[in-house]
Symmetry: C2
Subunit: 333 residues, 2 copies
């Protein structure tokens, strides 16, 4: 039998209500008795029954986090950011990994909803219409992180359009005119479209017409990167490639090595994401780094300050982190 508020009340000669007020720091109470009660609670090893509290209050401080199980390696960074702030504001994170199986998704979401959850944050997830409907009906605060969904749902991400233009600028400033975009995920249609448009517009801004064949690959996977060179054949029709995710860029880098290409002189590579994975390759990848940790922090603080009503789309900054995989292309200069 665990210690309850009642036990403390008895020992302190108070009513449970008073103890509750003291322990939750709500309502009126005398500070001297409060000190006594808090000490008692501690010495008796009291541990609040959160289920009872949630039931009574008809809500919890839980934020449900949905993370794709085919693990995007930046999810950790987002979670880290969220954890920092959650701890600060007294929220609990209920992290759940979900896969593409719809019935399992539904069960997962229902189990979250059955706990009077405060909000559901989706990390780089696109969900099926059935789950989407369930979530919309549930009235909990939704937020998509690192991915933009339906415009009804607020999101925090990099500005994918601007990011892509920055990348193109960077490559063009290094003399590249023939640029490929590897990995335009069909799984995240809105993001993919924004990036494609940024790619096209970025090239156009430099008077370069874009070759639709140079946008290739539909999954954000190592495999996509690995197959790139085989797909295009040697010699490559482009001098630089953009990997849409670090893992793609690594695959591309490896396939280039396997084909005895000299990186970056035979092919320049720039990677989107910039997680620590890019630091453990040889040569170290040049990347545009997204600020995932900040996305996580903003997710919590924006929820805390209840600002999702004002701003539907929040962007975090990106920055180019030079590595050793982009060379100057003298041929076209």
């Amino acid at each position: 039998m665990a210690i309850t508020i009642k036990d403390i009340a008895n020992k302190a000669g108070l009513s449970p209500a008073s103890v509750s007020r003291i322990l939750t720091n709500r309502g009126r109470f005398n500070e001297d008795t409060a000190i006594r009660v808090r000490e008692l609670a501690h010495s008796m090893g009291y541990l609040k029954n959160q289920s009872a509290a949630d039931l009574s209050q008809q809500k919890s401080r839980i934020i449900g986090i949905l993370v794709p199980i085919e693990h995007t390696n930046f999810a950790d960074e987002i979670i880290k950011g969220m954890q920092n702030k959650a701890h600060e504001f007294g929220y609990e994170l209920l992290i759940t990994f979900i896969d593409v199986n719809e019935s399992q998704q539904i069960q997962t979401v229902q189990s979250l909803l059955s706990r009077q959850i405060l909000a559901i944050f989706m990390l780089a997830i696109d969900m099926s219409p059935a789950v989407f409907k369930l979530l919309i009906n549930s009235k909990v605060q939704l937020l998509s992180i690192s991915n933009q969904l339906d415009s009804q749902i607020p999101s925090i991400s990099s500005d994918n359009y601007v990011m892509m233009k920055k990348i193109v600028d960077y490559l063009v400033s290094h003399g590249h005119k023939k640029i490929a975009l590897i990995g335009s995920s069909s799984q995240f249609p809105i993001v993919a479209q924004l990036r494609r448009q940024g790619f096209i517009d970025g090239l156009a801004a430099h008077g370069i017409s874009y070759n639709p064949d140079f946008i290739w690959g539909t999954t954000l996977s190592y495999q996509t990167g690995l197959e790139t060179i085989k797909h295009f054949g040697l010699p490559l029709p482009f001098t630089a490639a953009i990997g849409s995710a670090d893992i793609i860029s690594i695959g591309l880098l490896n396939s280039a090595k396997d084909a005895n290409l000299d990186i970056p002189n035979d092919l320049s590579i720039i990677s989107i994401d910039g997680t620590e994975l890019t630091q453990i390759t040889r040569p170290v990848l040049t990347t545009i780094q997204q600020n995932f940790q900040l996305m996580g922090e903003l997710a919590i603080t924006t929820l805390h300050e209840n600002k999702f009503t004002e701003e539907k789309v929040i962007f975090t900054k990106t920055k180019i982190v030079p590595g050793k995989t982009v060379a100057i292309n003298y041929e076209s200069i």
Copy 2:
């Protein structure tokens, strides 16, 4: 206001108790009315209030998972295994990332305990005495995965001693006699000790005396791997090295490349863990692979079958996965 069991009862002309019995599939009820009630519940969009249920039953189906925030990349695989089985048996996983900050650890554990949790699984975590005491006192089922702790706490892991002997056998069978062990973590003293002993005994079994200088590095980090060659200097006094974690092996591989060594001819490397990280290096790492997913599955099934009382230590098998980083050392043959 959400639909409750009472609403269903009213509409069905039953008492809440009957509805509860039907929906939880406990006690006695008529199957025809059950069908009616289940349909009603579905059509009314009923969602169980799990807090109320937990409160009433004085327990939950939640399993708390503690994961180190400096992310060990195999945690995902363990969680994947757990998730499969948890889903099957109707458990919920409450995954929490913890860092080394003790006060935060305590808060995290308390927040878990305040939810009538069923068990706490620790993934590759060594905890401070204060947290340890808290857990022991709490009476919840504890389990350490991929790490052995105090003998009171059951664990699921590879047999680190046997694993290390297997590695030594493998290297010796490839002609290596001078072997280094890189990364003997002070953070996981029991595992580290078992591995050291396996290393020493493994060498002794082949009549090779061991050189204490060849056990080097105290953190399981990329940095440790990266600094190895600088530490020992060239030419290396050993022909093969064991990386105690994939990330160490990658660091070692990179530092070897940076020093213009030819892997595997100048140095053979074998990595412990064998996560997918080892597949994205060039050359691909030879590894001894731990079955993390199985560890996760066993964690859940063993809990489900309540078998922790019988067996305190459960081992999963390891297997050597040849890559391209171990060569035959002809010199010593």
